[in-house]
């Protein structure tokens, strides 16, 4: 289809006033200043409330004595569709299987939450967190210590009062 151009004719000087539109616009602005139902969220002064099922950066749960709950079973790197988890298992001095290396590349992660879903010991969780700014790219590979330090809430993969979504 051939493009057509509608030519708008500029009004002749002095035949129109913009004052009415300007006042109308300012009126709307002042109305919003005093409107109690305003939608603007005062982030970051006011924290954002996230859904309990928000899937953000990971949290590794720890035992009371500070050990990670992870038993290095290898299910999360197996199920991870983005291949972002690196795990090397080993045995500690009490004969428990534990992760010698546990790294998650948060840049590769697609936050699907399958690692949390598959974990047999409820160790790795995705979290209700989104403020992840860093100064270097390397800092986005979270190692085991960093994952254990994360103190934000972990995600609920389902509503506990309605686990089958009925």
């Amino acid at each position: 289809m051939a493009a057509t151009v509608k030519v708008m004719r500029r009004p002749a000087a002095g035949t129109t006033s913009y004052l009415r539109s300007a006042i109308k616009g300012m009126g709307l602005t002042f109305k919003h200043m005093i409107n109690p139902d305003k939608a603007t969220h005062q982030y970051p002064e006011e924290p954002v409330e996230l859904s309990p099922r928000w899937r953000g950066t990971h949290v590794m749960e720890v035992h009371a004595d500070g050990r990670p709950k992870c038993v290095a079973c290898g299910l999360c790197p197996t199920v991870c569709p983005a291949n972002c988890i690196r795990l090397v298992g080993g045995e500690d001095d009490q004969g428990n299987r534990y992760p010698i290396v546990y790294e998650i590349d948060e840049f590769r992660c697609i936050f699907c939450g399958m690692c949390q879903e598959v974990c047999p010991v409820e160790a790795i969780h995705v979290g209700q967190h989104f403020e992840n700014a860093e100064y270097t790219r390397e800092r986005f590979v979270y190692d085991l210590d960093r994952l254990m330090e994360q103190d934000h809430e972990s995600t609920l993969l389902w509503d506990p009062s309605d686990p089958r979504s009925e």
Binding site: G74, G90, R97
Partner: protein, 537 residues
């Protein structure tokens, strides 16, 4: 096994509606396996006796008053067997529930997870949820000595390990102690499996994670490992093995059944010697002579420079050192190249011990005296063994040698850094860096046996294929390809493109390999020809 002279009687039976004809004396379980119908079982193992105690292989046989253990019921003519009938399935479901009564279900930390028969069978046929509310009995973990760890809780009491030690190793070091649900496998007091040369096999035959290898403990998950059929390179027995690899590293060796060579087993000596396949001190780029130094370059440039040097050096005596760790293809290519250069002696050095370690139930399976996989192949190709039993020495005759010196596969660990300095041209093809080869005029990187396709000839002349399980580092290429390319250049012939073509060329060099193709070898190997002595010769 039936006598080859007598005609074997066959019986025909029906299993799950399909007719199958088997030799008389075959069990129902084996007949079903011939149909591809695997009846679940724990205590039965083809290499051991069948006590029919796991009660998992029970099937319905028409006319029999109750379910029959298929691992000891011989197939009869006209028998009608149902492995999936309601009765059989209900029975298996019940038996599996009993197995789980005391099983800790610690799959996340169990090394067998992913290749565990209890996991497989329960997933396929077991109950979705356990009904047992009693506390489980707990044994904990026991060190059986050697490479073996025992987790008593996971055991299903199939007694394969006890029977292996009694029947195959004939060294009864394991037994069942206690009775009922307290029964557990144990060693005798302080005596362990330490020093028992075939004990590692009980880890392979354990259907669950009760017996695990200390060497492999927590190293990798079973489902992460790639399996590549290969040949054990640690002695001239040539046991069929699988390389279990992950991230371009070998993590363990497992035996691959071959009734003619190693049945279902392999020795611990071979099993634990795989670290060298993961060595990182590798030659990665062709190094060529440039004035006084050696520089890394690409293959095209290296081979061009090498052929130019060969022409420049002209007709000179040729001596070569081969390695019994090289494949038949590599040795044949070396023979081709030496012949193309005018012929010369090829020697090899190989490690050897005085001790043989046979498996008592099958003495043909022995850790042989020759601790290299392809001594026979080298001999077939007219190479002579020199040096001592630790694969050193024997090269004194090369001092002051001023011809063309070819070293393939032998890293010369015992030689001085000026080895071969008198030679007009010193060419080294190797996988590893070493002091004695740094002065070579040409140093070309080649792949190890784990990184290429090829064949080995074992002690009895059986030629067996192996496949590449790892990727060769850097620019390393199969040795036969490099040697054959040089020989083809000198002779003006075509370069063989595949290991198979190179093996056919080997058949032209020696009557032992004549007329044998990779197809003849298959996955089980075939005996090389015994050359017939010509009358009057």
């Amino acid at each position: 096994m039936a006598d080859s002279g007598t005609k074997t009687e066959r019986v025909t039976l029906t299993i799950d509606g399909r007719e199958v004809s088997v030799e008389k004396g075959t069990t129902i379980l084996e007949a079903a396996e011939a149909l591809g119908n695997r009846i679940p079982h724990y205590c039965y193992h083809p290499g051991l006796s069948a006590p029919a105690q796991c009660r998992l292989c029970l099937v319905e046989v028409e006319g029999a008053p109750k379910l029959q253990a298929s691992c000891i019921t011989t197939a009869q003519d006209g028998q009608v067997v149902h492995t999936q009938s309601d009765d059989a399935l209900r029975q298996r479901k019940g038996v599996l529930e009993f197995y789980l009564a005391n099983h800790p279900l610690d799959c996340p930390i169990c090394d067998q997870s992913g290749e565990c028969k209890l996991q497989d069978y329960v997933f396929a046929e077991g109950r979705k949820h356990g009904r047992n509310r009693e506390p489980k009995r707990v044994f904990g973990r026991d060190d059986f000595g050697g490479d073996i760890l025992f987790y008593g809780d996971r055991c299903v009491m199939c007694t394969r390990c006890v029977r292996f030690m009694n029947e195959a190793a004939q060294d009864p070091l394991l037994t069942v102690v206690e009775r009922g649900n307290r029964s557990v496998i144990d060693t005798f007091f302080d005596e362990g499996l330490e020093g028992s040369p075939y004990a590692g096999n009980i880890v392979d035959i354990c259907p669950v994670g009760a017996l695990v290898s200390k060497d492999f403990l927590h190293k990798a998950r079973a489902w992460d490992l790639d399996h590549t059929p290969s040949i054990c390179p640690n002695c001239s027995q040539g046991c069929n093995i699988d390389l279990h690899t992950r991230d371009n590293r070998v993590h363990r060796l497992k035996p691959r059944p071959n009734l003619d060579v190693n049945q279902y087993w392999m020795c611990d000596y071979g099993r634990h010697r795989y670290d060298w396949m993961n060595r990182t001190d590798r030659l990665e780029a062709p190094m060529i002579e440039r004035e006084d130094s050696r520089v890394a370059t690409g293959w095209a440039e290296a081979l061009e420079a090498l052929t130019a040097r060969l022409e420049e050096v002209g007709d000179r005596p040729v001596r070569a050192i081969a390695s019994p760790f090289s494949s038949n293809e590599e040795l044949a290519a070396l023979r081709l190249l030496v012949n193309a250069l005018g012929g010369g002696e090829i020697h090899f050095r190989s490690p050897r011990t005085d001790e043989e370690i046979p498996l008592p139930s099958f003495p043909k399976l022995t850790r042989r005296k020759d601790l290299a996989p392809n001594v026979k192949g080298a001999e077939f190709l007219g190479m002579a063994r020199v040096g001592d039993d630790d694969a050193t020495g024997g090269l004194e005759g090369l001092e002051g040698f001023d011809g063309i010196l070819l070293v393939v596969g032998d890293a010369l660990p015992d030689c001085a850094p000026d080895f071969g300095s008198d030679a007009a041209l010193h060419i080294h093809l190797g996988s590893y860096t070493s002091r004695a080869t740094e002065a070579a005029h040409f140093r070309l990187p080649i792949a190890t046996h784990a990184e290429q396709e090829g064949t080995f000839t074992n002690f009895e002349g059986r030629v067996q294929r192996f496949w590449p399980g790892l990727e060769a580092p850097g620019a390393a290429r199969p040795g036969w390809l490099v040697l054959a390319a040089l020989a083809a250049h000198l002779e003006g012939t075509a370069v063989p493109q595949r290991a198979e073509e190179m093996f056919l060329k080997a058949g032209e060099l020696t009557p032992h390999f004549q007329g044998i193709t990779y197809q003849d070898l298959g996955t089980r190997g075939a005996l090389a020809n015994e050359p017939v002595a010509l009358p009057g010769a």
